[in-house]
């Protein structure tokens, strides 16, 4: 893990403390949308939490779900994906 990763991790943790749940949900959806990969997020949530919508995650599971979502976003940032157009 390099310094930029640590900084990003710190930002994520800080945001988790200061933002409301709807703001955190929207931030994740916006990030995933940037990569046009909503099905990957839905699949991740369904495999781990039996729902495809981050809005339906229970309060108990919400932090775990956001952690997994941010891992996905980091992987998307680090890779290039193709487009059918």
């Amino acid at each position: 893990m390099n310094f930029s990763d640590l900084e990003e991790l710190w930002d994520t943790l800080t945001e988790a403390r200061t933002r409301t749940r709807p703001e955190r949900e929207q931030q994740i959806l916006d990030e995933v949308e940037k990569f046009d990969s909503i099905h990957l997020l839905e699949d991740l949530l369904e495999q781990h939490f039996q729902t495809t919508s981050i809005k339906d995650i229970s309060e108990t599971d919400f932090d775990a779900a956001t952690t997994l979502a941010w891992i996905l976003i980091r992987r998307l940032r680090k890779s290039e994906s193709g487009s059918v157009h």
Partner: protein, 182 residues
Amino acid sequence: MDLDPAFTEIRERVGPLNSVFSLKADYLEKGLAREQTAAFWKVFWENRNDHPTLPEFSLSLRYRMTCSAFSCEGDVSPPLLAIGRHSFVVECFGEEWAMSHDSPNKTPDDELERLVAPGYKSALEGDPSLDIVQVSTSDLKGRAMKLLYERLIVPVRVGKYRRVLCCMTAPIKPIEWLPKQA
């Protein structure tokens, strides 16, 4: 010339060299593929004209799949984006590896990554790639294993336009864990 006993021991332990055999679609059409590979192929084939999307695969299939980026750099496989909870790669390398904090985007075996990369490169051209892979590798704890599996890679849409490479890997025989050397 006699072989060095140490070399003979390693060769017997590891078996034949690591290799990948490319197959044609008739392997699937003749019903030779594993059940999960055949089911994965069926979804892809039935939706091929509209570019299949991830939700078209059942949850039970998605549990066993991996999704990788639609790009290859260098001679290694494309980075992993999603790892199905019950996928063969989790069976081999463990849940601890799949869920580790540094979010693995490749298996721990660089040689394996290079060996299996050509199949991904072929799928990047838009065609399904079907192989049988025979390989010896080891997990993060250094436990050696021999694997024989079939692997089908197809392009799948995960958003309006974005594609990834989805891979279904099915063991042809159970993982052969090798005894630790003294």
